[in-house]
């Protein structure tokens, strides 16, 4: 499968690193890519359920393009949100719907988290897809 260029860069970046600790550090670096969802806009419908940490993610379509805002108190979760932002922000809704969530697996990002973590990530990805489907 070929990914959008932004995603391919992330995958390449991660695949260079063997050490799990370092991969987590890199993951946390991506947290700065998040467009912050202000606390005032946190609500039940944008809350990521099943996470130990507090996490929210909100999708809008702005001028026909997908816009992601997010927030999390744990930096690793925010890092995941950052990667999702890079992968999705500014794409056309149809492009996102064509995207498979598996790229983070491909990149070994989820690998560097514990398996059950994948649920939180999957939840976020599903929330994105659902929001877009509702919006269009």
């Amino acid at each position: 499968m070929t990914w959008p260029e932004s995603v391919q860069e992330i995958i390449d970046h991660f695949q260079e690193i063997d050490d799990k600790f370092q991969r987590l550090e890199v993951l946390m670096d991506y947290s700065s890519e998040v467009n912050e969802l202000p606390v005032g806009e946190w609500n039940e419908s944008n809350r990521v359920k099943g996470c130990q940490s507090i996490a929210h993610i909100e999708i809008e379509i702005v001028e026909e393009k997908v816009s992601v805002k997010a927030a999390a108190d744990a930096k690793i979760v925010q890092g995941l949100q950052g990667i999702l932002t890079l992968a999705i922000n500014g794409l056309l809704p149809e492009q996102v719907l064509n995207l498979s969530p598996d790229f983070v697996e491909e990149a070994g990002i989820l690998n560097s988290l514990t398996p059950s973590r994948s649920n939180g990530y999957r939840t976020m990805f599903d929330m994105i897809v659902n929001s877009i489907e509702e919006a269009i």
Binding site: L113, T114, P115, S116, R117
Partner: protein, 394 residues
């Protein structure tokens, strides 16, 4: 197939084991034993809400069981319990308690296992519910009586396949009649899932209960499948860790999914073992084995009758290969002990179905129940052992 089951390497009283107590519990293939072994050796940890590697693996392993159950049985909801018995008690407490009221009717049958009678008797006493038992005549459910009993029923609880007689009840008919009258249906499928692949959604039932240990899985675990509609009507049963969303001193909120009904540390190793059993059994052609075993059982039935035994199992087309019989003068317990001395394991007694025993007019029977690994060799040894008992006793 026996070589996949380590227990058959064991000698019983110097003899090869002829295991014909499968309706009580089945033996376990290597994969199942190894999976639990590996879990404890490599991945043991507590599940959920944890972030370390072992805990993640344990969680995935346990949740895999739920996924496999949903897939195999085409079910929207699979609650993991400690077995059939807990599953039925769960329905009585979490659905029955809040959806049944004084005067409401629950229909049972005389063929039920105690696990599908006693929970309802206990609930009936607490909530003044009326219990109606569909009688058994000629070894079958009386379907006319069933239709009459349905009048005003809120819930119908019926054993899919009888553990005493092997009879597969006409559950398609039972379910469609029940649904027409607006009653919910619980299937006790403890003896059914080992022998046939059931599509839960297609049956139209609301609840289906069964145990892992009767289908090559470990002890201590079972499941309750629930329809989406019935699931919405269920209140929590046991309280504790894992089933809550938030707990405060003034009250608690609960999880929305199956975890709501799984309080406390779950059966983790058991879930891993059952997953292995579900994987293993998914590669078996159950229908083929069913026909093979039924044909063996029918031959055995004829031979037993030739020897003067009364055989209670009809062994009709869909029935499981379970033969309940008695001898006119030899006590079942003596019979079973003398068989055991020859390596043959059968069960005797009321088989947790005293009302059915009453209906059959016996205190107990000898029951020989066959499963995947049994073959003609076993049935021959069984009959040979029977002959020796009769020689000694008569």
């Amino acid at each position: 197939m026996k070589d996949q089951f380590p227990i058959f390497e064991r000698k019983i009283n110097g003899k090869e084991l002829v295991y014909l107590d499968n309706a009580a519990t089945t033996q376990k293939p290597n994969q199942v034993i190894e999976a639990m072994n590996d879990y404890y050796r490599l991945s043991n940890a507590n599940v959920h809400r944890a972030v370390h590697t072992l805990a993640g693996e344990a969680t995935e392993g346990y949740e895999e069981c739920r996924k496999l159950l949903k897939k195999r049985f085409n079910a929207g909801r699979a609650i993991i319990t400690s077995g059939t018995t807990e599953a039925i008690n769960l329905v009585a407490h979490s659905w029955g308690h809040s959806n049944l009221n004084a005067g409401d009717v629950v229909v049972l049958t005389e063929m039920e296992h105690h696990s599908d009678i006693v929970p309802w008797q206990m609930l009936a006493e607490r909530k003044s519910i009326e219990l109606r038992y569909v009688p058994v005549s000629d070894g079958k459910l009386d379907m006319n009586a069933f239709e009459v009993a349905l009048e005003g029923a809120k819930l119908v609880c019926v054993v899919h396949t009888s553990n005493v007689l092997g009879i597969r009840n006409p559950i398609e008919k039972i379910i469609s009649f029940s649904k027409n009258r607006g009653a919910k249906i619980l299937l006790d499928a403890a003896q059914a899932v080992p022998h046939e692949l059931i599509d839960f959604k297609e049956t139209g039932a609301d609840f289906m209960a069964f145990s892992a240990h009767k289908m090559c899985g470990p002890t201590g675990i079972g499941a309750l499948l629930v329809s989406e509609e019935a699931f919405k009507e269920m209140q929590p049963f046991m309280g504790g860790g894992d089933m809550i969303d938030t707990v405060t001193l003034s009250g608690s909120t609960f999880q929305a999914d199956e975890h709501k009904f799984e309080a406390g540390t779950p059966r983790i190793a058991e879930g891993v073992g059952w997953s292995a059993a579900l994987e293993w059994i998914s590669k078996i052609d159950l229908l083929n084995h069913h026909q093979r075993l039924l044909s063996i059982a029918r031959d055995v039935k004829v031979s037993l009758e030739e020897r003067g035994m009364t055989v209670y199992s009809p062994l009709g087309p869909g029935d499981a290969a379970v033969i309940s019989f008695t001898h006119p003068s030899i006590h079942p317990e003596d019979f079973a002990r003398l068989l055991d001395a020859q390596g043959v394991a059968v069960r005797t007694g009321h088989h947790c179905a005293q009302p059915l025993m009453e209906r059959l007019g016996v205190n107990g029977t000898i029951r020989a129940s066959f499963y995947l690994y049994n073959d003609h060799n076993d049935s021959e040894k069984f009959l040979f052992a029977i002959d020796r008992v009769m020689e000694a006793m008569l």
